[in-house]
Symmetry: C2
Subunit: 219 residues, 2 copies
DNA sequence: GATTGTGTCAACATTGTGTCGAGTACGTCG
DNA sequence: CGACGTACTCGACACAATGTTGACACAATC
């Protein structure tokens, strides 16, 4: 998903003035935002804070972004672009080495979240109030769910996993669990699973849920 | 937990004027809020909306509540009071009939949520921005976690459940999952588990996680 | 040198929150 | 009865944050 809709349409990039200007300012806003998000929730950050941090006035901010949320969305877009190429994806190892496959799925999620906690936790926080971000998350979730439920069905088909609730429903529940558990682990809201254990705990739940044991049948 | 802190201290209740006044207004605000929450998120509701809905002016609103959030907190308090007496609690049936015990735990959570979805989903939404509500949820969560992890340990002790990750960590993860899954089921955000299946799906995950099977050993 | 597009901001308009202080209605006590 | 206190009410204000407008600057191109 490209996020053209969020950043104001910048005119043709052909001619670039030599002033200390242009994209620099946009980047300055973005990095100010990411920095501030490490300390404060998005709701506590004003547009003025972002503008000042980037060395511009508040009205000028609106030249670059249409709102605070759209800054977050752009940040998110950048994070995910990096990520989508890093996590090329637990490939076809599913039937060969299921445990490894699922561990890698989880680690991918963990890594995503961990590398840019500030941005990702902010996203979680505003998903309820911002329609665009809400849609963005729904979209991502849908793709994960599809992928995971196909994997579960494949495992059931080859007899490695027993039958059970609809694969899609399990995938949804497990996926929501991951998000929520990682969120509270990273924000440190009590009660939370300690960061050192979080992958193991989640993996355990995934495996037992899918296979009714922690030692699934390998290829 | 009583929420004295949230409602302004009403003076002695001794003398009651006969005007269409007093507690009536407070109740009017509360029911207006609950009604509006069925259609809109709390962030979309202004204090003026609440005041108008209750037939008073905005400043008068502040006579009864210190803020929008404190209305929600009071609403929550009422919901929970009803609930804490309804769900007296899956008692000592744990070792006799484990499946039933866990099903009742889940159903209690489901019922809580379901009966006052508007209030509960609003709570989820503002937990990230309101410290008081955040604390309230953390508190409730902590008590559930304690209770659940003790139950898991008891099952392990009597050999009904196999060893595994720290009981507390499982309890935290399962608990967060419940909240999150029920939230999206009730708001209907896609992807969500359909309401008709949600208890079965969650129960399945709980049982397999705790017992590594859906048929635990009964007493 | 005129034109065009990028970039800038002071000043304004708007919306929502919270407060203050002057008021009104009602029960009570002299 | 009347004056006193308390519950209650709201107009008018102060404030904070958001978003908009219109005039202006500068560089690149014609």
């Amino acid at each position: 998903m490209t996020l053209d809709s969020t950043a104001k349409p910048r005119a043709s990039r052909g001619r670039r003035p030599s002033r200390p200007t242009g994209d620099d300012r946009e980047l300055a806003i973005l990095s100010t935002a990411e920095k501030l998000l490490e300390q404060h929730a998005l709701s506590e950050i004003s547009i003025d804070d972002l503008a000042r941090g980037a060395g511009i006035s508040r009205p000028t901010f609106y030249f670059y972004f249409r709102s605070k949320d759209s800054v977050l969305l752009t940040l998110l877009d950048r994070v995910i672009q990096k990520l989508d190429q890093a996590v090329v994806g637990p490939s076809e190892r599913l039937s060969e080495d299921p445990v490894r496959y699922w561990r890698e799925c989880l680690e991918a999620t963990y890594t995503t979240f961990s590398a840019h906690r500030a941005v990702l936790t902010a996203t979680v926080q505003v998903q309820h109030t911002n329609a665009e971000i809400h849609r963005w998350r729904a979209d991502r979730a849908e793709r994960w769910v599809t992928r995971i439920s196909q994997a579960i069905e494949a495992e059931r088909a080859r007899g490695a996993a027993p039958p059970g609730p609809r694969a899609r429903d399990l995938a949804i529940a497990l996926n929501l669990m991951n998000d929520r558990v990682l969120y509270s682990t990273f924000t440190g809201d009590e009660p939370a699973v300690p960061e050192s254990d979080v992958i193991d705990v989640l993996l355990n739940i995934w495996l037992t849920t899918i296979y009714q044991t922690t030692q699934p049948i390998a290829g």
